[in-house]
Structures are given as C-alpha cells and as structure tokens.
C-alpha cells in the first residue's frame, strides 16, 4: 500500500515559519524571505468570533490571511480542537474550521494529540492524554469524525508534556503509531517536543524518533524551549537548541524530505532573525538528506 504521504499527495514544501501579525509587513509588503517557503497559521486566530447576526470576522487579520494565501501555501494548525477530550466534539468549532480550510485550500490541516476542554472550561493548553487503550479507541473514533467533517488529510502533533500518568499502558510513540494507523491520519512530528518530554520524563529521544511510522509524517516542527531547572518548558521563545538540531537531522534521515516549520511565539524576534532560523533548518535538512542518500547508495549491493 502506498504511504500516507503518497496516497494524499502531501507535498514537501521545504522550510516555513509560523505567520505572526508582527511580521505582516515584512511578509506581505516586502516580499518575505527566500529562506521561508511557506507559512503556518494558528487556525483559531481566523475562526471568526462573531455571531451569525454580525457576520464573519473581517478587518486586518482576514485581509492579511487572504494576501498570504494568494502568495504562499498556508497550513492551518489548530490548538483547540481537543481531540482527546471526553467532552463532545464542538460542532460549531468544526464548522468554522471547515470554512477556514476551504478558504485556504491547504494540502492538509493539523492539531495536537491532547485534550483542551474539561468540566465545561476551555483550558487553552495542550494537556497530555494517558497512553491507554481506552484513550486510543476514543481518539481514533474522533479523528475519523473530524476527517469526515473537514474532508481533507489531517495530521496530529505529539505534544510536549510535564507529567505522565500511572494509567499509561504504552509509550507515547507506540500510542502515536497505533493512532495514526487505526485512524489513518498523518503525524506532525515536533522534534523539540520530543526533546522536552524526553528530558522531563527520562526517556530516550532517539528511541522515540526511531519508532515513529516514517511514512505518516507530513511535517516537522522545530522551536526553542526554556530550561527551568527541574524541567524544560516548551515556550517557543528562543532559537532551536543544538541538541534539537541534532535530533532533527536524525528525524529527517528517518522520514525523508518533509516540510519543516520553525515556531516562535514568545519574545517574537524580527522577521530576518526568524528567516535565518529557517535558513539554518534548511542547512540541517540538506545535510541529513545528503546523508540519507549516501546511506541508500551504500546499501545497494
């Protein structure tokens, strides 16, 4: 059977960055940067806060989104779908997400393996799930429903986490692989999250990378994190760390040429700093792909 990427014609977009309002003039009026080939947007920032009587959101955010879409491939990345919550899927959320996806016409859309909603509250955090058979069955079912509602390839991202549950019955990578297989969805592989969680929970980051189903990875995320002594916090507020670049190359050697994104959400720097980070990602990516090609040639008898 062809890989997930092949079946869904998932393109390799090269290296992109998260589009933030602060960089709108650099990207839309001054031509961006040749080092940034595509953009990701946070879905919820464009999912209309208005009631039916007042119409959809407009103004600068939607105008910028339209211009961005006209010039680049734009991938919507959600943070509030809450795919793992026991609370019912929010139909209003799905309707708005569908409208956004239809407007952007991306090759796929993404969100996280987590829950955000409980006890009637929207907690606005990517809360980890216990890696149990119960949670797996629950998420698989909901991913299928989301795919049915949006009718577009869907990929889920591994989250960084600061706690682990006694209930868990399998490692995170096994949960992700099983989820992707049973729900037939893609994976957005966040290398920084693997590094952060590996430090926080004491597992082997390389073992995680080596265990993910490579053909289902549609995109890789990279970001900076903060060292808080007893734990590392995934704050997207700094340059990508050396150790994470190293894991990134390992991931690329394993999954091949997939789109890569630099996330930077706190202490957001000037656009040229972000573009240089993207250029650095391209260098690491090229080096890893070169190594992968060499290894393939050597393997030929």
């Amino acid at each position: 059977m062809p890989s997930f990427r092949a079946r869904h014609h998932i393109p390799d977009l090269g290296v992109g960055v998260g589009f933030r309002p602060k960089h709108a003039e650099d990207v839309l009026d001054r031509g961006g940067s040749p080092d940034v080939r595509w953009y990701e947007v946070i879905s919820e920032n464009f999912m209309s806060p208005w009631s039916a009587s007042r119409g959809p959101a407009g103004g600068r955010p939607m105008a910028n989104l339209g211009r961005l879409r006209d010039a680049y491939t734009v991938i919507p990345h959600g943070v509030s779908l809450s795919i793992g919550a026991v609370a019912p899927l929010d139909e209003e959320y799905l309707a708005r997400l569908r409208a956004l996806v239809d407007r952007l016409n991306p090759p796929y859309f993404t969100d996280h393996v987590c829950f955000c909603r409980a006890t009637g509250l929207d907690l606005h955090d990517l809360l980890p799930l216990p890696y149990t058979k119960e949670a797996l069955a629950h998420v698989v079912e909901r991913v299928k429903r989301v795919q049915g509602a949006i009718e577009r390839p869907f990929a889920l991202e591994n989250v960084s986490s600061y706690l682990t549950y006694r209930e868990s019955e399998m490692p995170e990578w096994e949960f992700l692989a099983e989820l992707a297989e049973r729900a037939d969805c893609g994976l957005l592989f966040d290398v920084n999250n693997v590094y952060v969680s590996a430090f926080n929970h004491g597992f082997d980051a390389e073992a995680f990378i080596d265990a993910i189903p490579a053909d289902r990875v549609v995109q890789i995320h990279l970001a900076g994190h903060q060292d808080r002594g007893a734990y590392k916090l995934d704050n997207h507020g700094d340059h990508v760390r050396r150790e994470v670049w190293s894991l990134y190359e390992r991931a690329i050697r394993r999954v091949g040429a997939v789109s890569t994104l630099i996330e930077w959400d706190e202490n957001i720097p000037a656009f040229d700093v972000l573009a240089r980070e993207a250029a650095m990602a391209a260098e690491h990516r090229d080096r890893a792909l070169g190594a992968q090609r060499s290894a393939s040639r050597e393997a030929v008898p």
């Binding site: 919820e44 920032n45 999912m47 806060p49 208005w50 007042r54 119409g55 959809p56 959101a57 407009g58 103004g59 600068r60 955010p61 939607m62 105008a63 509030s80 809450s82 919550a85 026991v86 929010d90 959320y93 829950f115 955000c116 909603r117 409980a118 006890t119 009637g120 509250l121 929207d122 907690l123 606005h124 955090d125 809360l127 799930l129 216990p130 149990t132 119960e134 949670a135 629950h138 600061y162 706690l163 682990t164 549950y165 006694r166 209930e167 926080n200 929970h201 004491g202 007893a230 734990y231 916090l233």
Partner: protein, 270 residues
C-alpha cells in the same frame, strides 16, 4: 481511573488560584494519578500546568487592556484580572473573547472609580472594531439615485465595525496618550460620546467624539429605524425638533465622509 475522571481532575487542579505544590489534598490526589519524575513530585508536575493556566490567561487579558493596566499598576491589575477570571473562567475556544466582560466586571467591582470601567470599554471597543465583519463603503451613485421622497423611509446601514460608547469620562484621551508614550494622567469626568470604527478602505482604526444629539440619532439608526421615524423619535425625546431637522443633512454627509455608512436601503424596508 477513567479518562473522564482524569480530565476532570486536571481541570480542577488548573483553576486553583494558588500553588498546589504544597497542598496536602492535592499531593495525595496527584500521587494516585501521576508518576512524578526523578526531579519532580507528581503534584509539582501538576502545578506546572496550573501556573501556565493563570499566566497564559492573565497575559491574554492584559494584552487587550494595556492602558487600564498602566493606570492601575501591574500588581493591582493582575489581581483584578485574576478575580475576573475566577468569576468568568474561559469557556470559549477563542482566547480573543476572554476579556469581553472585563468592563462590566470592573464597573461592579470598582464603583468607587468609574473611570476604570470607561477605560476598559474604550479598549474593548478597539478590539471589536479591529476584526468586525467587513462591509463595502457607501456607493455615492446609489445614494444619488434615491428619490427625494424616498429618504424618510430609508434605512441607514452602518459599518459593522462601528462601536458607540456613552462615557462619563473622555477615557479615549488616556488611551491615545498611552499609545503615544505620554505621561498617563487621569482625565476629569465629562459626558463623552465616542465612536470607534475601522476605515473600510485602509483598515485603520479611528475614534471620533460627537455631541449628545448626534450620538442619540446614531443610536436610532443603528437600531434599524428609518430616517424619518428616527428623527421624529429623537425630536420627541429631546424636544429639540428644529435642531434635529436642521442637522440631519449635516450628520449624513459627515458620517458618509467618515466611512461609517455602508448602505442606504431606500426601497426594501428590513
């Protein structure tokens, strides 16, 4: 523990206002559910998420009310927002809406200082105007084509971004001063009628003050009343019939020039 019970526990921990890292009840509860790590106890792990919950939501509200925060001082503002979030915890997937009720909350919580609520209303009006629905600018040719005798029954459709505020203080002047990095000083009470809107052409935000009569007329039009009945109602309310009749043309011309009017519905009453 079921998935539902586990998620409920996390949600309950996150909304605890103070650190739970030393709370015996939470220490036991966390230890039954979480593994901890070589560096952190289960309850310390849980507290990371609780801390992030408050940091994220307080910062989100603070971003929408920078002038109010500057006027109150960082500590007092954070305490106020924390109380606000306890009263109005996030229930919407859009963080954008989190601070929507802060002005009403401030009004109820700080009746001794009504300037604070006015300032909050002004700052929120800019948020609403910023991403309100788009609408076209008024078409002069369509206006010119309206027959003279059709105007009394015509309805004026205002731009969706238009925000109307009746205030006890010119609080918008403080916002302007803050954005221009001037020294922030309290304004004196004065009835203030303010419109905040987004220009449909360049998408920039603007503010405009007006007198009480013009503001009241705008309210009638915003309610969907036809021009004639709106003017009659305003005249009856205020006893200023001659002034109303004399100024209608001037108001329409000015509001059209400011880009506040999207359409004139002359033939098909809503």
């Amino acid at each position: 523990m079921s998935l539902a019970e586990l998620q409920k526990m996390l949600a309950e921990a996150l909304v605890e206002r103070d650190s739970i890292a030393r709370a015996p009840a939470w220490t036991d509860r966390a230890a039954r559910t979480l593994t901890g790590s070589t560096r952190m106890t289960p309850v310390e792990q849980l507290d990371v998420y609780r801390e992030q919950f408050w940091w994220r939501h307080v910062a989100c509200v603070a971003e929408d009310y920078p002038t109010l925060a500057a006027l109150m001082g960082a500590e007092a503002f954070e305490a106020l927002v924390t109380e606000y979030l306890e009263a109005h915890p996030p229930t919407d997937f859009l963080l954008r809406n989190l601070g929507a009720r802060l002005a009403d909350f401030v009004e109820a919580r700080r009746p001794d200082d009504p300037l604070l609520a006015d300032l909050a209303r002004v700052e929120w009006a800019f948020i609403d105007a910023f991403d309100a629905a788009d609408a076209p600018l008024l078409d002069p040719a369509a206006v010119a084509a309206i027959p003279e005798d059709a105007w009394p029954a015509a309805r004026i459709v205002l731009q969706p971004s238009l925000q109307r505020l009746a205030l006890g203080y010119p609080a918008h002047e403080m916002r302007t001063a803050f954005l221009q990095q001037q020294t922030l000083s309290r304004v004196q009470p004065a009835p203030t009628f303010l419109v905040v809107h987004r220009n449909a052409r360049d998408l920039r935000l603007h503010q405009e003050t007006m007198d009480d009569l013009a503001f009241a007329m705008l309210a009638h039009l915003a309610a969907g009343e036809p021009l004639g009945p709106a003017a009659d109602a305003l005249a009856a309310e205020t006893g200023r019939e001659q002034e109303v009749q004399a100024r209608i043309g001037e108001w329409f011309t000015r509001w059209a020039a400011l880009g506040w009017i999207a359409r004139v519905l002359a033939d098909s009453p809503m």
